[in-house]
């Protein structure tokens, strides 16, 4: 899977965590964290929920469906938050988007 080009905008990207980025349970602080190159982010519940659904790669639409079901929340509301979160992560290459 080649990471998205800078100018590529996908309506329904396939999302995954690239190699070198992983979830970590921080025992000392009692918090989930995301570890990547030069980065250690402490995650809140929403961030953790989104990132733990990625597995080996998941379509954005499928991810939103799952989270909407899990939190019993309106799909549209979830969609905006999820996309905003993922876009920030993608610019930092902590998640990658691909088309296929």
């Amino acid at each position: 899977m080649t990471p998205a080009r800078a100018d590529a905008v996908f309506a329904d990207p396939l999302i995954r965590m690239p190699r070198g980025v992983r979830l970590h349970q921080d025992r000392v602080r009692g918090l989930p964290a995301l570890l990547g190159p030069e980065r250690a982010l402490m995650l809140d519940e929403i961030g953790l929920a989104i990132l733990s659904e990625l597995g080996e790669g998941v379509r954005l639409s499928v991810l939103i469906d799952r989270l909407a079901a899990r939190y019993d929340a309106p799909r549209d509301e979830i969609a905006g938050d999820v996309r905003a979160f993922l876009d920030v992560m993608q610019v930092q290459r902590l998640v990658d988007y691909a088309d296929a």
Binding site: A6, R29, P37
Partner: protein, 363 residues
Amino acid sequence: MRDLPPPPAPIALLAELTYRCPLACPYCSNPLELSARDAELDTATWARVFGEAAELGVLQLHLSGGEPASRRDLVELVAAARQADLYVNLITSGIGLTETRLDALEAAGLDHVQLSLQGVRAGIADRIGGYRGGFDRKLAVARAITDRGFPLTLNAVMHRQNLDDLAETISFAADLGARRIEVACVQFYGWAQRNRAALLPTRAQVEAAKRTVAEAVRTYRGRMAIDFVPPDYYADYPKACMGGWGSTGLNVAPEGTVLPCHAAATIPELSFQRVTEVPLAEIWAKGPAFQKFRGHDWMPDPCLSCARRDIDHGGCRCQAMALAGDPHATDPVCRHAPHRALVDSLLANLPADDVLPKFVYRR
């Protein structure tokens, strides 16, 4: 003096495994007096230190040097660090990393590689690194790293003699498949301080570099992350060195001395403890060198009453030492600092291009 509350847990440990290095960069941050190989910590001691660091709350381990690949036990050290559940980053010049070794590092669980770049062409790169053929070998290693799928950060160390190549440097990183590039202007400690006149960029170069970076951030958005550390001599305020003294990270030198930052040994009044004598947690919590500049109590004015004191923590203690000869002083880079004139006079007296002093190499 009252007791300070216990410090929050550190996030990162920089392990300087060795001072040995095949290169001789004139900006190396290693001390001018290098400790010998037989003083280096052994494999088992490093493994114990990694375990103690993880227990203390460290998440990220940076294996550095010198050249960490100069350690024969590098693969074992990576395995031990992963065993301790640390995120392991290798900071390397690439020299000494063969294909076989990279395979072994991959099997040991190495997470990320940060490759230093001395220049974007063989001529300049080998002249800066003081090592003929170094550039070609680095290029081969870079390809071997990305072929294996390791995430790669290129660490481009920039200064007067290569800053004009910045645009080329950034596209070079992207073509190699780097996920990040760190454009780090030389900071003037260690060997860099000695070579400052040959390395300090001009204001015009710095302004051009800022424009180049801004454009590259747009061009490579989503493909490659770009971090830029401009030379702070041209800034109005100092950098928040280490995110505040003794607040987020610690360094262990090759022979086991624990430092609040890699240049802290340049401050004569500090005394340091060693991992072979005192547990890491105790050094972090109570070590005299760590306590010295924590919080605000040490601050002089103008810092003590400044609105930015929790943003930049009064700047860098080692820079105050290097420029003002006083580690308690406000970082001379700050425009409110009593010593700012020192910085301005350095900037006003840069040598012309044709009379740049020769490098003093790290040998």
